[in-house]
Symmetry: C2
Subunit: 442 residues, 2 copies
């Protein structure tokens, strides 16, 4: 009796064709994070249950994988990278020093309802700056998102930036600060139910007057990329210190982005974005692809006041964001940005005969030294079969050196997409490498 | 009441100083694996318990983390990457095609006794070629190990190669094939208890005569890198087909290694290595650092006959090896090969005053375009404090541009190890980038 080979519902195998672009994307994220001075960290998949429970709200608790380990300890699998970061920062901040800039790429687990197309295991790609309240860190977060999307290959995207202090300042002015949760809940539905119904809900549930609801909606309607929005926002929040701080924060983000060369299309104010209710306290970011706005934000984050208050008395403010890897890959697939390849190597070296093996090995080693990835076919199968293998795997090029060619110290390089072949001296790996790279260039 | 921030016994936090070299090592492994045409895959952390249990022996079952999930399914956390590979190959081999060359880097979990210095969560870095019996794949496995260790920065290491068919052939000749398990168990103790006691055990437990025990020990004593060892091995295994296949296999490995430019010091026959009892059936590899032989093999593997027999009727032979990441990092630490750095960026840009912010942002963006990682300090703290931060983090360089320098469109580049400073035009990022790279060069 064989055991049926299968994966658990909501869990995925990644075959080379889907893993190659995933790995490339993660490497791009690491490279961009590093270029801003964020350092890698890692934390365990398992934590004491008391560290994890109650931290992500009731839903997280319900979805968390947890059990008793061999020593009778109650443990849970991390459901995000933020709670582990809070624990990590509380535990090590004195050793780490401030500012502490970290990135963390790793799997997290949630027993989600898979009917909604959700996965129970997925990778998060977070970066955060901990321990400073600086507006520079706020604006830098937007610059990282910008450089990241550019490095991935996107040109048409919009980073939408808002500041939670704007709305809070306005509500302070209106004497509605106490009702902010209900009002935010109503405002969050703006995209779905439209301004009239939102105003209705603000009045019935949030206790706002019609004029107050209109002012909140007016604030939320402001978006753009120049000084006029900032002026209108400043007028709306009036003399609320909180609101004015929000205006100053947005101004710093816009100015910083311009100084760093971010085009005005790519980063804009959008006073309607809210990003949940309680966690964020300052700048917030969402990022949309202009060609696929419907998939939602692919990179989101913001500033929070106190990361680790459950674990330490030290106040640890922070700002950061998280790249939505699965969503981004789905978008790239839909936009035709992913080439279907099943190999990370540049060239297949055809195995013609055992007599040639030493030459094949020598050539493969020499090409690798030139930075070219070479797969040597491991058996002397028919050339046609080996070339079909090269084609199926998506090799851009193949090298064929039969006994005759080897006797002449030559080899043939075949461009797998054009079908053209050219002859090279076997002992000039630099020339062969250059030609292979040309075949591999997009 | 605060919750104590702590990790579970046997689990580790990786702070930047330890994560930076780990991440670098994993990237090197990926790069080398890719250069031979191995493709990345990934599999879930959780599998159906029936997939995992009974596959790694009694000890694996005992150490496995397992529990019931939300849907009442019995699930386990993977304890290695080989069992998931077997399940994966059985499930997808028709789609994948053969040969299937994959690498897989990922965490695995075992509830080990931590008193022995073992971890309960660690990363495995495996590569395998599935679906072919080719001797070329056997020898290529040794080449990958060689290139990997060289790429990591090692010069003095020895890949020891053996073939299980040698001993099995000799035992066949001696009429001792039935007792091979007991004899291998005795032979495995050679390094610990010496040849005399091994011979004793072979006689008392394994049922060998003194002369037979001596022949087994003679086989195990053969090591080296030239034809004379092969001749002696051939003589010892006599006309056993299995044994002769083993000799031919070793010969192919040695010849292939020489053709690929591997020095004779780096790869040698060692007929004493055994690597466990049942799994391997052909070539086997172990790798030792010449300067730290005591830490044991840092990269091991070999050929096996049938990877996935529990899940499929298809015969899937394979060959591969696994890099011991933790052991290797411990060795590199001991050999002084790891620089202590707490940042992946090349230069700290000192924040002198808010008035300079736009210039800092512009310069940082320009330097990143030149391939230089720049961390901008986020606040206008005292320069001394910012430079101490740069020093503590291990930045090789710092850029200082005060208001006066900015007025002259200049900046100072400080080499953090020599303490020397030089002045550059602010608007020549290429020159600054080049100078930063010089400071960062080892």
């Amino acid at each position: 009796m064989k055991i049926t080979p299968r994966t658990l519902k909501g869990f995925r195998d990644f075959l080379p064709e889907s893993m190659i672009p995933r790995e490339r994307l993660m490497e791009t994220a690491r490279r961009v994070y590093r270029s801003f001075g964020y350092s890698p960290i890692d934390t365990p998949a398992l934590e004491y249950l008391e560290i994890l429970s109650g931290k992500g709200g009731e839903e997280s608790d319900r979805l968390m994988y947890h059990f008793e380990d061999h020593g009778g300890r109650k443990v849970g699998m991390r459901f995000d990278l933020t709670v582990p970061l809070a624990r990590f920062a509380a535990q090590h901040i004195n050793e780490l020093g401030k500012p502490f800039k970290r990135y963390h790429l790793g799997p997290v687990w949630r027993g989600e309802n898979t009917h909604r197309g959700r996965y129970r295991e997925f990778i998060q790609c977070d970066f955060d700056t901990i321990g400073v309240k600086s507006a520079v860190s706020d604006l830098e977060t937007g610059l990282v998102i910008h450089d990241l999307l550019q490095a991935i290959g996107f040109e048409r995207f919009t980073i939408r930036v808002n500041d939670r202090r704007l709305l809070n300042g306005l509500l302070e002015n209106l004497g509605l600060r106490e009702q902010s949760a209900a009002l935010l809940r109503a405002l969050d539905k703006l995209g779905k139910i439209g301004p009239e119904k939102v105003a209705q809900e603000m009045m019935t549930v949030g206790g706002a007057t019609q004029s107050q609801a209109e002012q909140v909606l007016q604030l939320a309607s402001l978006s753009g990329d120049d000084a006029s929005q900032l002026k209108q926002l400043a007028k709306l929040v009036g003399d609320s210190e909180l609101g004015q701080a929000g205006v100053a924060g947005l101004e710093a983000v816009l100015q910083g982005a311009r100084a760093a060369g971010v085009s005005t299309n790519c980063l804009q104010i959008d006073a309607s974005i809210a990003r949940g209710l309680d966690y964020y306290t300052g700048v917030i970011y969402e990022t949309f692809l202009d060609d696929l706005p419907g998939i939602g934000s692919i990179c989101s984050g913001g500033r929070y006041d106190n990361l680790a208050e459950l674990y330490t008395k030290q106040e640890l403010p922070g700002v950061g964001a998280s790249l939505g890897l699965d969503r981004l890959l789905a978008a790239m697939e839909e936009l035709g940005m992913l080439e279907k390849v099943g190999t990370p190597a540049d060239v297949l070296l055809v195995y013609f005969s055992d007599a040639g093996l030493s030459d094949y090995l020598r050539l493969a080693a020499a090409l690798r030294e030139q930075g070219v990835g070479v797969e040597l076919y491991p058996e002397a199968k028919k050339i046609g079969q080996q070339l079909r293998y090269a084609d199926r795997r998506g090799f851009p090029a193949a090298i064929i050196a039969g006994d005759d060619e080897l006797a002449r110290r030559e080899c043939q390089l075949k461009n797998m997409s054009s079908g053209e072949s050219s002859t090279f001296p076997l002992d000039d790996p630099a020339a062969i490498a250059e030609a292979v790279k040309k075949c591999a260039a997009p």
